[in-house]
């Protein structure tokens, strides 16, 4: 590109931005207490990954396969007393005949984590993971994808996502890239759509920015047509634009869109160089590319996303949200043929995610990068034909890096994986944990006129924090 005066450009814009008044109580951009992590890579698998065959393996299901739950010694798992069930799956009336595990399992590492064979590669990272096995959520359909991101039921429409809060609370470590980047195909419109990476009342400047990982065209219109404008002119234009936007905003001091637009021009200007540079995956060594599975067709696409995620956090992006299987209800929604569904999909993600963990670790980045692996809910122990149904009342996720205790397992579902029974956590406890590691207290971020419920804030899961 060969831009000159980048700093000048940025400065002009920052002036315009500072003059545009902020919404609510703008945070200082400083953590509230000493942070353990700088960035978050938030991997989200759309459709509902079986907890039973991934990181909360239940061998009892093999033992009692074909029997109804009531016929097992664990009939009591169906009891809901004291389990605070909201929006459970009423269809379970028909899903009580136990289906055996559809894959094998193995014990890994010193921590002795049992992992389903669909996630063998991640299994080799067992000693870096903190698995939370006692999650529950409030929606029995794929709207729970939105719940995972915002803590709210889809009926309530838009609320800030975790990424939005992080962007709002901490701002950027790199003026050349957005604070909050989205990779992969996000959740479909049925189940949250753009809300799943939105920022709601925090203003669009804190929403996620979608990137393609195509190095030839990471973003459309990334450069002006050849010969149309010189870099110096571009800078002059942007300077005038900043001043005009600032003037036009005088009558609309609370306009979050204007603030966001001013920022978007600043960012766009910088991104002309920074984004193509970030997407130059060919600069990575062959060994690194292989680590992410980029040498194989089935793992290439997600491997690229994981590698780009690493390159983004390396460059100071705060929150990278990586979607897998997005669109519609989500690819992992294995109501039928769960065996082939999860086999195919786990093949796509297992190696790249393990590669990401290993790569972050070998580069020393795992210390201040928190990686979270999640899905909207688990799947029923009972069979739905040859698939499993939605299961919001007990499922799992894992966290790694960023000051999270390595090699621990926290929380318990009952013997059949039906209900979370010990150390139950609502999904926002994961949000609170992530914010805590970033040095943020969500109560302090709260905007006075936007009262949040305690359930929105959640509680950091202390047991998995070092």
């Amino acid at each position: 590109m060969g831009f000159t005066g980048l700093a000048l450009g940025a400065m002009l814009f920052r002036d315009a931005r500072a003059a545009a008044p902020s919404a609510g109580l703008s945070p200082s951009g400083l953590p509230h207490f000493a942070p353990r992590a700088k960035s978050v890579i938030w991997i989200f698998l759309c459709g509902g990954v079986s907890h039973l065959e991934s990181f909360d393996v239940k061998p009892e299901l093999n033992k009692y396969a074909g029997k109804s739950i009531a016929e097992t010694p664990y009939a009591k798992v169906l009891e809901t007393e004291g389990k605070n069930i909201i929006g459970g799956n009423p269809g379970h009336g028909n899903r009580k005949v136990i289906m055996p595990l559809q894959t094998g399992y193995e014990t890994y590492g010193q921590s002795g984590l049992v992992v389903g064979d669909w996630f063998k590669h991640i299994g080799t990272c067992a000693d870096d993971l903190a698995v939370v096995r006692s999650l529950w959520t409030i929606h029995n359909d794929h709207g729970a994808q939105l719940t995972w991101q915002t803590g709210r039921h889809p009926r309530e429409l838009e609320h800030p996502t975790l990424g939005g809060w992080v962007s709002y609370g901490l701002g950027s470590l790199n003026e050349n890239l957005p604070e909050y980047v989205v990779l992969g195909t996000p959740t479909g419109d049925c189940c949250g759509g753009t809300f799943t990476y939105g920022s709601a009342y925090l203003g669009p400047e804190h929403g996620g920015v979608r990137f393609s990982t195509d190095p030839k065209k990471p973003l459309p219109f990334i450069a002006p047509p050849a010969g149309s404008i010189t870099p110096a002119e571009q800078l002059q234009n942007l300077s005038l634009l900043g001043k005009l936007n600032q003037l036009a905003g005088i009558d609309y001091p609370d306009d979050q869109n204007l603030r966001a637009r001013i920022k978007s021009y600043e960012l766009a200007y910088q991104m002309q160089a920074s984004v193509p540079e970030t997407m130059q995956l060919e600069r990575e060594t062959e060994a690194t590319r292989q680590l992410y599975g980029m040498d194989r067709s089935e793992t290439k696409a997600f491997g690229e996303q994981c590698l780009v995620a690493r390159r983004l956090v390396e460059r100071g992006v705060r929150f990278v949200q990586v979607f897998h299987g997005g669109g519609g209800g989500g690819a992992w929604d294995a109501h039928s043929a769960i065996k082939s569904n999860h086999t195919n999909l786990s093949t796509q993600v297992d190696k790249p995610i393990a590669g990401l963990l290993k790569d972050l670790k070998q580069r020393g980045l795992l210390n201040d990068t928190l990686v979270v692996f999640g899905t909207e809910f688990g799947r029923t122990p009972g069979a739905q034909g040859d698939g499993r149904d939605h299961h919001p009342q007990g499922f799992c996720a894992w966290l790694a890096g960023g000051g999270i205790k390595p090699g621990v397992q926290h929380g318990v579902t009952d013997e059949l994986g039906f209900h979370a029974v010990e150390d139950r956590h609502y999904v926002t406890d994961i949000h609170a944990t992530a914010l805590h590691q970033l040095g943020l207290d969500s109560h302090k971020l709260e905007i006075p006129s936007r009262k949040r419920l305690e359930m929105d804030h959640g509680e950091p899961i202390r047991a998995i924090i070092t």
Partner: protein, 914 residues
């Protein structure tokens, strides 16, 4: 109720409709005359709302339990004393011609004591005791709490209740203090909420802001500088109203709002791959439906009529090719890969678009939160199961792959619809055939309510030309014309061969025979068409028909002879060539691998073929002398069932019924959403319990009633809304009101909004003087999005066929788009700052605005691009920018002006409506 429903985390709200409720419902077998319908139960629940004790939200509040272990029908659940009284009252009220809704009946029995335990029904209900069971009565100490509860409940009943599933009762227009602000009833409803909440409406927007707002809103394009001057100079009291009338009459209005309704009605061009056999979603030529939408809006066709035509024009106006375009609404759901998905989309989106209800859930199980059963879902499905899509010919084009009228028709009138157990197409419940119907709970006061939701279906006998579209006059003419063109071609080819001395004699002879064959074929075709025309005219078996049919038979016999001669000649020629080749010692192998239909080169096979050809010719010649007959071979034509089920008509009539509870509400809410930036019901495609409650329920009901009263005229509603004081408010903030209502839920100011994708692109072209205002026609390739100058609604939109520029500005999602969600992204900045489109247009406008002085240029550019005058400071910044030393030696004054225009195109105000 509002606050309760906005907080989904209340466990009770879930428990109230979880398993026991559904299981209880399932024990009731549906019967049209039965009272314990899901709707009655919902109405009961709705009447008492949060005042209803959990233990009373069950069947036994009105019914006695069945004595049998496995009850077979509702008759086994007789009413208890309370239920009996409600039932009896229903009959009495109906007989007296009074409203007999459950709510009305519950109000009447409130003070009665049905079970004779000396505690009034309402007191028992409020205290959680069964009003139909004398043994279940509140203890004395509980009774003391009753009066407080009753007072609270009375207050609740007196407040306006949002009952979207009941027919609209026109509310009275409130009387407000701020009467001077009220221009029309819309304002009265808005002001009432302002006053109740201490909100102060913002003053009227400046004339410049208002003019640009209403231009963009109604036509999607800026006012021109001339229009700005005219409006600013017009000081008459109705200056604004004149503008509104002018804009509503402008054909651009139909394009602007056409695109809005294309969102709601899920317009999509065809998706898949070309070559014709991989058209996966929607269909080619569906743009005719888009043109129908635009035309209908410009003509202000009633919304009810639009609904009827979209769902059933093929039954209601089977020969009206203009109206048939409307059925593109259904065609759009076509799915090559799955009929199941096709039907699912049809039901789901028809319900969401017109009724604002999500029935999709009921495919697999009873709806969890709205009163729609799985059975009712399949009754809806029975409405659509027989239908399919086809492409009819249009004048001047016989090849429907190239162009045609794509439309709906009932292909399988006898198709049976079965409930699919758990929604699984592999497990239909074949014990029962589902009859066409609609969910009972949504019937309101429509006549369908009297039959429990079953539609009164009348089969439609289609006119001959609807079932046999190829018997239409233009098809006859086009067919003959095409045949004539073919004839001219072979004659010309023959003439050419004749003048060429190098032509082999057998080749010349072949062409000569071809000419004769084509002439004869043409003559036979003409004769057949003559006969068919008598048939179409209803004169089959008339003397004229007999004469024509006899001629057709004779012509076809003659054609057979000529064809046989040609064939014989061709076989002889091929054989001669093959024999010669064999003599020359060359292997008689074809150069290219033999294709199917190629003549075999093997002389022996050819000899056999020759004998066959001779035989065929002899037979044809013999036929010539056979007795004359009338049994001619008809043309191969498209032929469709002569009757249509009439199910879609019955359904459409129910949707478009003035008493339908949802249709008008949903439509005015969609209009409101696009004028004000948020629907009165914030979830425009879900008016059920999963949606969000309205901010102004009375206003929405009043508007729905007004819409129907005004003959479903959309322009009347547009006029009403945009001329209101509410619409004319400034969008500037006010600290005091913001403190009370930060999200402007109660409209104390106008909402600022970002332009939709299409409006950004169209207006960019328009203000720079490039927009091509041609209307209608086939969709334009999506790859031409940055070079075509046509309005964006004419650009192709389908899965994997989208204009990138529009996508970046949150263009419509192809699968569904009941509401746009505008974002602010750096990608948008890149698109406006770096695209060839922006550069070309900026250059063009800068040249067009050429003036000598910089001040004049800055003023013109502001007027043209932002539709306003620059402030003193803005003008100074502009002048300084133009006067500054060029950043680059290569750039001069012209370039600086181009850059200034480019900057204004990137200005926040350009993409924002204030």
């Amino acid at each position: 109720m509002l606050s309760q429903r906005m907080n989904p985390l209340r466990p009770a709200a879930y428990r109230g409709r979880s398993l026991p409720w559904l299981a209880a419902l399932a024990c009731f077998v549906f019967s049209a005359t039965a009272s314990a319908t899901p709707a009655n139960r919902a109405a009961f629940e709705q009447h008492y709302d949060r005042f209803l004790a959990k233990e009373l939200n069950r069947c036994t509040t009105c019914h006695l339990p069945s004595e049998r272990k496995e009850p077979k029908s509702l008759a086994e659940f007789p009413h208890n004393a309370f239920g009996k009284r409600l039932h009896q009252l229903g009959g009495e009220l109906t007989a007296a011609g009074k409203p007999s809704s459950l709510a009305a009946r519950l109000a009447l029995v409130a003070k009665e004591d049905s079970d004779g335990d000396s505690v009034p029904n309402e007191v028992e209900l409020l205290l959680g005791k069964n009003p139909g069971d004398a043994k279940d009565k509140p203890p004395a100490k509980e009774l003391s709490k009753a009066s407080a509860k009753q007072a609270e409940f009375a207050k609740f009943l007196a407040a306006y209740r949002w009952r979207p599933f009941e027919t609209v009762q026109r509310p009275a227009v409130p009387v407000v203090k701020n009467a001077a602000w009220v221009r029309n009833p819309v304002d009265a409803f808005i002001a009432a909420e302002h006053e109740a909440r201490g909100l102060k409406p913002r003053p009227e927007a400046t004339k410049e802001v208002l003019l640009r707002r209403v231009y963009l809103d109604l036509t999607g394009l800026n006012p021109t500088p001339e229009e700005q001057r005219k409006f600013l100079a017009d000081t008459s009291s109705d200056a604004y109203e004149k503008v509104v009338n002018h804009l509503l009459d402008d054909p651009r209005h139909g394009e602007r709002w056409g695109r809005h309704w294309m969102d709601v009605w899920r317009y999509s061009d065809w998706a898949g791959w070309s070559g014709g056999n991989q058209i996966r979603d929607s269909k080619p030529h569906i743009w005719r439906w888009r043109d129908w939408i635009v035309e209908a809006l410009n003509k202000d066709k009633g919304y009810d009529r639009m609904v009827l035509e979209m769902l059933a024009a093929d039954e209601l106006a089977p020969l009206d090719t203009d109206a048939l375009r409307a059925t593109g609404f259904l065609v759009r759901n076509f799915k090559m890969l799955s009929r199941e998905q096709w039907m699912e989309d049809t039901i789901k989106h028809t319900s969401q678009a017109f009724l604002g209800v999500t029935v999709g859930c009921a495919k697999c199980h009873d709806h969890m939160v709205d009163p729609i059963s799985q059975r009712e879902y399949y009754q809806l499905r029975a409405v659509f199961d027989p239908h399919d899509v086809r492409t009819d010919r249009i004048p001047g084009q016989l090849d429907t792959a190239k162009d045609g009228l794509v439309r709906t028709f009932d292909k399988k009138p006898d198709q049976r619809t079965h409930l699919l157990i758990r929604g699984d197409e592999r497990t239909p419940d074949t014990n029962k055939v589902m009859e066409a119907g609609v969910p009972f709970a949504l019937c309101g006061l429509t006549s369908v309510a009297r039959t429990g939701g079953k539609l009164a279906v009348e089969p439609v006998k289609l006119p001959l030309l609807a079932a046999q579209p190829d018997q239409r006059e233009f098809v006859f003419q086009d067919t003959l014309a095409a045949s004539e063109r073919g004839l001219a071609d072979v004659r010309e080819a023959f003439a050419k061969l004749k003048t060429n001395s190098a032509t082999a004699p057998e080749k010349l002879r072949e062409q000569e025979l071809t000419v004769v064959a084509t002439e004869t074929k043409h003559a036979a075709l003409a004769a057949v068409i003559r006969a068919e025309k008598f048939d179409v005219a209803g004169r089959k078996d008339s003397d004229d028909w007999k004469r024509a049919a006899t001629e057709a038979v004779a012509a076809q016999r003659h054609q057979a002879v000529v064809d046989a001669r040609l064939k014989l000649h061709q076989t002889q020629t091929t054989l001669a060539a093959a024999l010669k080749k064999a003599e020359d010692g060359k292997p008689a192998e074809p150069k290219a691998p033999a294709k199917k239909g190629d003549k075999p080169a093997d002389p022996e096979a050819l000899k056999k073929q020759l004998a066959d050809s001779e035989k065929a010719l002899a037979a044809a010649e013999k036929d010539l002398s056979a007795a004359p007959g009338t049994a001619f071979k008809p043309r191969t034509v498209e032929s469709y069932p002569a009757t249509s089920t009439g199910r879609r008509t019955a359904f459409a009539q129910w949707v478009a019924d003035t008493q339908n509870p949802l249709t008008a509400r949903v439509a005015v809410n969609q209009m409101w959403l696009r004028h004000f930036g948020r629907g009165i019901v914030p979830t425009p495609a879900d008016f059920g319990r999963n949606g969000r409650p309205p901010s102004h329920p009375q206003l929405l009901d009043w508007l729905a009633s007004e819409f129907v009263t005004r003959g479903w005229s959309m322009k009347a509603i547009h006029r009403l809304l945009v001329t209101s004081s509410t619409y004319r408010m400034a969008s500037t903030p006010d600290a005091a009101s913001a403190k009370l209502d930060q999200d402007n839920f109660f409209l104390w100011r106008m909402n600022s909004r970002r332009l939709e994708a299409e409006a950004v692109r169209d207006n960019l072209l328009f203000v720079c003087g490039s927009l091509d205002l041609a209307m209608g026609g086939p969709e334009i390739d999506h790859n031409l999005g940055l070079t075509s100058k046509r309005r964006s609604l004419y650009l192709r939109l389908a899965a994997e066929k989208e204009v990138e520029f529009l996508k970046i500005f949150d263009g419509p999602a192809v699968t569904e788009c009941y509401e746009r969600r505008p974002s602010v992204m750096p990608q948008q900045a890149l698109a406006l700052a770096n695209s060839e489109l922006a550069f070309t247009e900026a250059r063009r406008l800068a040249k067009h605005l050429a003036t000598d002085d910089d001040e004049g240029f800055v003023r013109s550019a502001f007027a043209q691009v932002l539709a306003r005058r620059p402030t003193v400071e803005e003008a100074r910044l502009g002048r300084d920018f133009l006067a500054a030393k060029p950043a680059d030696a290569a750039t001069g004054k012209d370039r600086a002006r181009e850059n200034l225009v480019l900057v204004l195109l990137n200005h926040n105000d350009f993409v924002t409506v204030r």
